[in-house]
């Protein structure tokens, strides 16, 4: 599969899965916590790979940043879940995210050099856009607990900054 098509497929899996809630009922707080943890973990895994295998120094640094930032967000999410006695619950969306992440990593492992960098960055753009959409359309509106809602809102600017950063890398790699 073409790398961009693959990135879009993974991202649209998330959009489809989250929009499924529109018909089938909203995710509860435990499921939302599970989705947040899965979303961050997926990007940590891809970032670790980029840290090791990217050829472009800026892409490598971006991968490292994704590991650091998403680890930090997850730490806050897990701490809040513990405080609220909320056990992150699996859901169709969380599973779809994990599968999309595993497919992405498997694909990246077959690539080298500039092809790896491009595929990784393309996927990062699509992934961050999909997570922002999920936050805005599904996760924030459905979060019942005020602290959980606040944490989701507080994590949003990081996803936006990462998206802009990834887009900037994408345009530089394209040259």
């Amino acid at each position: 599969m073409h790398v961009l098509a693959r990135a879009l497929a993974a991202a649209s899996a998330l959009v489809l899965a989250t929009s499924a809630y529109a018909q089938g009922g909203a995710p509860n707080d435990a499921q939302i916590a599970g989705i947040v943890v899965a979303a961050n973990q997926v990007d940590i895994d891809a970032g670790r790979l980029a840290e090791q295998h990217a050829s472009n120094a800026d892409v490598k640094a971006f991968g490292k940043r994704m590991v650091t930032d998403h680890t930090a967000v997850n730490k806050s999410a897990v701490a809040l879940a513990n405080k609220l006695k909320l056990k992150p619950e699996d859901s169709e969306t969380a599973q779809s995210l994990k599968k999309g992440g595993a497919d992405n990593v498997a694909n990246l492992k077959t690539l080298k050099g500039a092809a790896f960098d491009k595929a990784y960055v393309d996927h990062e753009v699509a992934y961050h856009q999909a997570v922002i959409d999920a936050l805005d359309k599904t996760l924030v509106p459905n979060a019942k607990n005020a602290e959980l809602k606040a944490l989701l809102e507080k994590s949003r600017p990081a996803f936006v900054a990462h998206l802009d950063h990834a887009r900037d890398l994408q345009s530089k790699l394209g040259k």
Partner: protein, 116 residues
Amino acid sequence: MNAVARIVGGLLVTFASLGGANAAGPAASAPPSKAGTHTVLIENLRFVPETLEIRRGDTVVWENRDLVPHTATAEGRFDSGNIAPKASWRHRFDAAGTLAVVCRYHPTMKAQVVVR
């Protein structure tokens, strides 16, 4: 010394001290007598305020209120290194000028400090 000589002498001393002050340059260029401390919040992946005006000798404290780590960096001038969430870092500005400040981790974060 008679009274007139005493008064003239006093005036001369006053003149000399005024002249001395003028020779040292206008008062505006002297370091401020009382240095201030300013806070820049790092929140929602932005520096707040994005433009900060301060005086020479003032100190700026960058306070990270985000979930993720940041830096406050003016290339070639200063670099905070890692500022962890809930941590802060301070720097004193002794020279006038406008400094562009970025977060090395997040290139979308830009600000400036104007030192007068």
